[in-house]
């Protein structure tokens, strides 16, 4: 029953998160903003459209959005939502989780390179560079969690034991939560790493790679991006809010509250700070890496 809720939430909720983040940004800017459900409308519109593909592209180009969405959806099945268990769980699923994203990224970049456009090549180079730096940050965070939990499984590291670890290893967990939040911003292409609203091809990272996609393929990309925000948000919420009320339905509410808070935080960050210079992006990712590393040092000293 709860697995069903898990799947439903993962499939239905992600576009809403982006709507909420946009609403927060609009509030900060003194605007009314688009409807909270805007992305649903956009997806419905894109699904009905036909696509035009460049003659230079091959199946790689068409595979990009599909693989990216599939890997994200697969990763979503691994992450426990709040106090509830994930539908899929096995030893080493943490590592599998991380490399599902890497697989999706590989195909997105390959699809971008397949177009042969200078813009998309630049975007691909940036994505891979920053991805390579976000990965250690993610792993250092997971390493701290694994060290605390004692197993390389989401079910254990984000399980009921985490609440106790907050008592004894709070500093490490705070560092990890911050670090994972930075990774979330980077992986989902939000400010200060990327500007999801910009129309300026030369400054884009993720958006520029998908310039040639249209119609349902673009819809898949947007949906996948929203789902990625949901999945990584669930990990951050899992670390930051390991509380369990005892009542299963109340736990769902608690989780949704945590997701709402996380989304609002993304919106707030986006509203109060400017984008980083592209050359400064690696510095922030290395900082995130170091935060988790310090968390690890605090544990093993």
């Amino acid at each position: 029953m709860h697995y069903l809720v898990h799947v439903l939430l993962v499939l239905a909720l992600p576009p809403l998160l982006l709507g909420i983040a946009n609403r927060v940004k609009a509030l900060f800017a003194g605007r009314r903003g688009p409807p909270v459900l805007q992305l649903y409308f956009d997806l419905a519109k894109l699904a009905r459209k036909s696509t035009v593909q460049s003659r230079t592209t091959s199946f790689v180009f068409r595979a990009g959005p599909v693989v990216a969405l599939a890997t994200t959806a697969c990763a979503a099945m691994l992450v426990p939502l709040g106090a509830h268990k994930a539908p899929l769980s096995f030893g080493g699923d943490l590592v599998f989780f991380a490399y599902l994203f890497a697989l999706g990224r590989f195909f997105t970049v390959a699809a971008a390179l397949d177009t042969g456009s200078a813009f998309e090549g630049m975007g691909g180079a940036r994505e891979v560079t920053f991805g390579a730096l976000a990965e250690p940050a993610l792993f250092f965070g997971l390493l701290v969690l694994t060290r605390l939990g004692g197993a390389v499984r989401f079910a254990v590291v984000l399980g009921p034991g985490l609440a106790d670890h907050w008592v004894e290893a709070a500093p490490s967990l705070v560092l990890v939560a911050v670090s994972l939040f930075v990774v979330l911003l980077s992986e989902t292409c939000r400010v200060p790493f990327d500007d999801p609203n910009t129309h300026l091809e030369l400054t884009m990272i993720h958006e520029v790679m998908v310039l040639d996609h249209g119609g349902p393929a673009l819809g898949m990309i947007l949906y996948g991006a929203a789902m990625k925000l949901f999945v990584l948000g669930a990990v951050v919420v899992g670390v930051a809010l390991p509380a369990s009320s005892g009542n299963a339905w109340l736990d769902w509410l608690l989780f949704l509250g945590g997701m709402l808070g996380c989304t609002v935080l993304v919106g707030v960050v986006e509203s109060i700070m400017a984008r980083l210079k592209l050359v400064a992006v690696p510095k922030l990712l290395v900082t995130a890496c170091l935060l988790s590393a310090v968390g690890l040092v605090l544990l093993v000293r």
Binding site: K25, F28, A29, G30, R31, A118, F119, G121, M122, A125, R126, V191, P192, D195, N197, T198, H199, L200, E201, L202, T203, E270, S271, I272, M273, A274, R275, L276, K277, L278, V279, A280
Partner: protein
């Protein structure tokens, strides 16, 4: 060595008083003056029966005077001066395009606007057969060769709703080694249309030279006509022209600051400034019914009066809007993440700015105190001085900072004018231009110095009408600002210059 002919800004004089020099003396005098701190305000060709006359109008900030010289080129080429004076490079390319003269030794001689040969003057020495019209943008571009060097082409169709222009980057990874900007897509032939005047369409053409500089170009055009016709403009009209010009400056600067915020994804200021720009445009609409000031400035004066109650209401709305601008822009400039983006980005040194002849806020942000309102005061600026806003760092921050200060100072200026509007008439009767005259007018538009030059023939019609928009001087500044910068900073640098495509393409 003969002294060049000297005129004041907006002074009409007998064209025959400017001596025609042999080319060597013309070139020596021109290069010497440019080396000694003068600046090319305009350098253009005039088609005559005997060949093409080259005319140079130099501006000197030191004494606030314009110096004229001319020479006759009878053949089909002349030795290029660009190798010795880089700021002439576009002027010489323009002469080559408009008059079919070849500047020998020009380092990068190629079309400026891709004008069809049928659309231009012909030098007598030119063969009668004409090649096919050039296709705009189809030309050689500077290329950097080598391993790992790649080329990025942007435009002429852009992702935003902006004007068309082609940008060719030579990159090594993210670093830009060279940027070449190719324009001409907006060429309408409006300068030629103006030269067919003066007529009723003239002011309308002038207003559309660059739509965001409507008041500036209209003012320059009208001052040319008034000088040529010997018309005195009433003090009240002068003051109102000043008010409109400064409101135009405020509106555009505020819009630019908002756009800069948008480019670094700093939302609050981007949204607020977008709205506030509209407030200032609406104030201009209060004055004349058009948000861009169309129909306000006409030869002889202005068309719309500002009665005292209207002046008071405009002032109170101006104060509110300026207060809000101060808050929104303060938020932007004080945010550490924004400062990190603005500082050290797109730097143009004072030496570079001076050698390529930058004008306007871009020049002032590089530490050059150039402001036609101060250096070549015209109209109301002769009686009410504005301080020149200068900053020394030459980066995006400097260009934003100069705009911010200018908004404040223009606000003060508008207040002073509206509180003490002189009485009297709004318009003098226009008079037809006198024959055989010449006149150059410099007006400091919001983007920089607007230069209009007119010569009249023996019937009092224009024989030449030349427009130099500040963008004509400044596009190269943007290209140089990008050298050694990450390519991802191009949109930000571009916005910090915010140059006009149609003002350049004419």
């Amino acid at each position: 060595m003969s002294e060049p002919f000297v005129s004041a800004n907006g002074e009409a004089f007998d064209w025959s008083a400017v001596p025609q020099l042999p080319f060597e003396r013309f070139a020596d005098g021109l290069l010497g003056a440019l080396g000694a701190g003068q600046r090319a305000a305009a350098f253009f060709g005039v088609a005559t029966g005997a060949g093409t006359e080259l005319v140079a109008v130099l501006a000197s900030e030191r004494d606030g005077l314009l110096r004229w010289s001319r020479t006759l080129v009878a053949g089909s080429s002349f030795p290029a001066l660009t190798p010795h004076a880089p700021e002439l490079h576009l002027f010489e390319r323009e002469i080559a395009e408009q008059h079919g003269l070849r500047p020998e030794g020009h380092p990068w001689s190629k079309p400026v606007r891709f004008v069809a040969t049928t659309q231009r003057h012909r030098s007598p020495a030119e063969p009668a057969s004409r090649p096919a019209p050039p296709e705009v943008g189809v030309t050689d571009f500077f290329r950097v060769e080598g391993h790992e060097v790649h080329e990025v082409a942007v435009g002429p169709v852009h992702a935003g709703v902006i004007e068309p222009g082609h940008f060719r980057f030579q990159c090594h990874g993210e670093e830009v080694l060279h940027l070449e900007i190719s324009l001409g897509y907006q060429h309408r032939g409006v300068e030629r249309a103006l030269a067919a005047g003066p007529d009723k369409r003239g002011p309308h053409y002038a207003e559309t030279l660059a739509g965001d500089t409507t008041v500036g170009h209209a003012t320059a055009y009208c001052q040319v006509l008034e000088a040529l016709g010997g018309v005195r403009v009433p003090a009240r009209a002068q003051a109102l022209r000043g008010v409109a010009l400064e409101l135009e400056r405020i509106a555009n600067h505020v819009g630019d600051l908002g756009a800069l915020a948008g480019d670094v994804a700093y939302l609050p200021t981007a949204s607020f400034c977008g709205r506030l720009r509209g407030e200032f445009l609406n104030l201009t609409a209060e004055l004349c019914g058009s948000r861009f000031g169309r129909g306000l400035v006409r030869p002889g004066g202005v068309r719309f009066d500002v009665p005292a109650p209207l002046g008071r209401s405009v002032l109170s709305r101006l104060d509110t809007a300026l207060g809000e601008v101060n808050d929104a822009v303060g938020l932007l400039m004080d945010a550490p993440s924004v400062q990190a983006r603005f500082e050290e980005t797109g730097r143009v040194s004072a030496a570079t700015a001076s050698s390529i002849g930058l004008v306007g806020p871009a020049a002032r942000a590089s530490g050059l105190p150039r402001d036609a309102r101060h250096d070549f005061p015209h109209g109301v600026y002769r009686f009410h001085q504005l301080p020149v806003t200068v900053w020394h760092t030459g980066d995006v921050f400097a260009r934003a900072h100069v705009r911010r200060k200018e908004v404040e100072r223009s606000g003060t200026f508008v207040r002073r004018q509206l509180e003490g509007l002189p009485g009297g008439a709004l318009e003098s009767a226009p008079a037809a231009p006198r024959p055989g005259q010449a006149c150059a007018v410099l007006v400091e538009g919001w983007r920089g110095e607007l230069c209009h030059v007119a010569l009249t023939d023996l019937r009092g019609r224009f024989s030449t009408y030349k427009v130099v928009d500040p963008s004509f001087h400044n596009w190269l500044g943007l290209a140089l600002a990008l050298r050694g910068q990450p390519i991802s900073d191009f949109p930000l640098c571009n916005k910090s210059f915010n140059l006009s495509y149609c003002g350049f393409d004419l």
